[in-house]
């Protein structure tokens, strides 16, 4: 059961065995929990949370703590070097470019994606073929980052303005149609970073649109009616009714996209390999750890990622508290 399955039937059997085993564990937990009568929250909570806490401690917490420890070690993880890796990140011009690019990513992506998603949600609301129109926008969500990178690299493809060579990348063809010279789009910094961000926006706008559109539809009709009777115009309706009502949804969307953006490295990897000043922290972490054999610095970069998420976490906690109050 715990060996490598090789034939089709073995694989399927093993899968069902795993599901059954898991179901048995859950069943046991529920059975024991069911024996506790009354309000013995503590014991039951321990049972409900036990497997989760165990898995997270082993699978995420321990590696995370280990990484923090390693960030104070040298390239080969043999000697303690204090904050040197962090000093490198904050002083080396290349690493500063990485920080700058990460800032671009995390400041631009969530807001543009959410903005576009919201605009589109409003535009197609109650329109004919609304669900088809929405499908077009959220389709990119189901595409892997690597495939998305392939798709967009093709969009940005460059052919020189020589002889009868024709453009094969759509963006450059547009530039040519508009009378411009074809550009090597992915080479010029910092424009190239924004062209990569466009890919992430392309993927995430569908997510934003889906959630926000649903939130808009959930606004109770009587509020809208009341506002209308008060003579509120369309813009006022958006500003004073829609926006406040969907604010929590907007926060969840921005949070989720921001965290996703900080972690993304496949797009950069696929499209520029981090060259031409396009690297971001997640990509630089990968390259320092696995390619450059500089594990200490790689670990420090990962820790910087944790640190960058803290404000997002804190903001969400405050929202949580306020909503509970």
């Amino acid at each position: 059961m715990f060996t490598t399955a090789t034939t089709t039937s073995q694989k399927i059997l093993q899968m069902f065995a795993a599901i059954l085993l898991f179901a048995a564990v859950i069943g046991l937990i529920l059975f024991i929990a069911g024996r506790f009568t009354g309000k013995r929250d503590r014991a039951i909570a321990a049972l409900y949370l036990g497997p989760t806490v165990l898995m997270l401690s082993v699978g995420l917490l321990y590696p995370g703590l280990r990484t923090i420890y390693q960030s104070f070690l040298d390239a080969s993880l043999k000697n303690f070097i204090g904050f040197d890796n962090y000093v490198t990140i904050l002083s080396d011009p290349e690493q500063l470019t990485v920080l700058r690019n990460t800032a671009f990513w995390v400041l631009v992506t969530p807001f543009v994606a959410t903005g576009v998603g919201l605009l589109y949600a409003i535009l197609v609301d109650k329109a004919r073929m609304e669900s088809f129109a929405k499908a077009l926008i959220f389709l990119p969500m189901s595409i892997s980052f690597v495939a998305a990178g392939v798709i967009w690299k093709f969009m940005y493809e460059f052919r020189p303005d020589q002889g009868n060579i024709k453009q094969i990348g759509f963006v450059n063809q547009l530039i040519v149609w508009l009378g411009g010279e074809p550009q090597q789009l992915l080479i010029d910094s910092p424009l190239n970073t924004f062209l990569l961000i466009a890919v992430m926006v392309w993927i995430q706008a569908g997510f934003a649109m889906t959630v926000l559109s649903a939130a808009i539809k959930a606004i109770p009709d009587d509020i809208i009616e009341a506002a209308r009777l008060d003579g509120v115009g369309p813009w006022g309706m958006f500003r004073f009714v829609t926006l406040p009502a969907i604010r929590p949804a907007v926060i969840v969307v921005i949070t989720t996209i921001a965290i996703g953006t900080l972690k993304v490295f496949d797009i950069v990897q696929t499209m520029t390999g981090g060259r031409f000043d396009t690297s971001v922290i997640a990509n630089e972490f990968y390259s320092q750890t696995f390619r450059s054999d500089n594990r200490g610095l790689g670990a420090a970069l990962a820790v910087v990622l944790f640190i960058l998420v803290i404000p997002i976490v804190v903001y969400n906690i405050r929202q949580l508290r306020r909503s509970e109050a």
Partner: protein
């Protein structure tokens, strides 16, 4: 909170509502033709990249190299050769039906396990009282940011020690673990929505936590579970990193690993990359299109609450 609106607990109003919604009246400001035009422009912008590559995947190698896909409309010439090249086992050196099965076998438990665990945990966080509840919840939320790459080595060491390396168990366990923080965050938001009166009523009837969970919560939770299930399905199906480390061996490697070895080495061989990309996205896109209704309803739930 600025939210003046007393929100209903029903997550989503049905689309069929006849009355003008807030968005619709906001839209009315932009006179309708302009709004439609803007919508069409956005839709076209979002569709062109995929569409262009789709067309390209049916063009001949020569055509792809020499002209843009938009020229196909004046000079149509299509071929299935690119797909043949990607799917041909002799060419690919891999058995795609086999890796397709591997993908399925990997994905199904990796969706079910975290869903069950997360709903139990989310329930505990929402409706139980125990010391350190808030701290633990915040800690789990924050774990979302641990980059998966830092976990690979320690986990593999563990799997080797348990002697389950090179089996599906490695993938099931690691994907389930990685999914938990986001799953708990989203499901917790949903479960909190359930009116306390419902829970209280059940309690007064003498129901314990187990029966409350099954009788009261689970039915309400279905859309949220479906939504997260789809999310997790897409993530596991599209994942390359985890399977590369734990399940690289040909016998158990999934579609993504095989396709990456097949197309990833081809530089700018667009004829293969385009066809390969479409082979790899066909399943997630289909699943997504079929189940998107649930996705919308479930994800929303957590967010409506202010």
């Amino acid at each position: 909170m600025t939210t003046a609106a007393p929100l209903t607990t029903t997550p989503v109003a049905t689309t069929e509502t006849k009355k003008l919604s807030a968005a619709a009246s906001a839209k009315a400001k932009l006179t309708s033709p302009w709004a439609s035009l803007a919508a069409v422009v956005l839709a076209v912008l979002w569709t062109i990249p995929t569409f262009g590559l789709l067309i390209t995947s049916f063009r001949t190698t020569e055509d792809i190299r020499r002209s843009g896909w938009w020229t196909t409309f004046t000079n149509p010439l299509f071929t299935l050769d690119n797909y043949k090249a990607v799917l041909d086992p002799e060419q690919a050196g891999a058995n795609l039906p086999d890796s397709f099965l591997n993908s399925l076998v990997m994905t199904i438990p990796s969706v079910i396990i975290p869903l069950c665990l997360a709903s139990l945990a989310a329930y505990a966080f929402a409706w139980m009282n125990f010391p350190g509840k808030n701290i633990l919840f915040i800690a789990i939320f924050a774990l979302q940011i641990v980059p998966l790459q830092v976990t690979l080595l320690p986990l593999l060491q563990l799997f080797v020690a348990w002697d389950i390396d090179g089996t599906f168990w490695t993938v099931w366990l690691s994907h389930s673990t990685f999914a938990l923080p986001l799953a708990i965050y989203l499901l917790h938001n949903f479960i909190k929505e359930v009116p306390a009166s419902l829970i209280e009523a059940a309690r007064i009837d003498g129901a314990g936590h187990v029966s409350i969970f099954f009788r009261v919560l689970l039915p309400l939770l279905t859309p949220a579970l479906a939504a997260f299930g789809i999310f997790q399905f897409l993530w596991v199906w599209n994942d390359l990193l985890v399977s590369l480390t734990f399940a690289g061996a040909p016998a158990i490697s999934p579609l993504t690993v095989q396709l990456s070895n097949l197309t990833g080495t081809r530089g700018t061989a667009w004829y293969l990359l385009s066809a390969g990309a479409f082979v790899s996205i066909i399943v997630p896109v289909t699943v997504f299109l079929l189940l998107q209704r649930y996705f919308v309803r479930g994800l929303l739930a957590g967010s409506v609450k202010g």
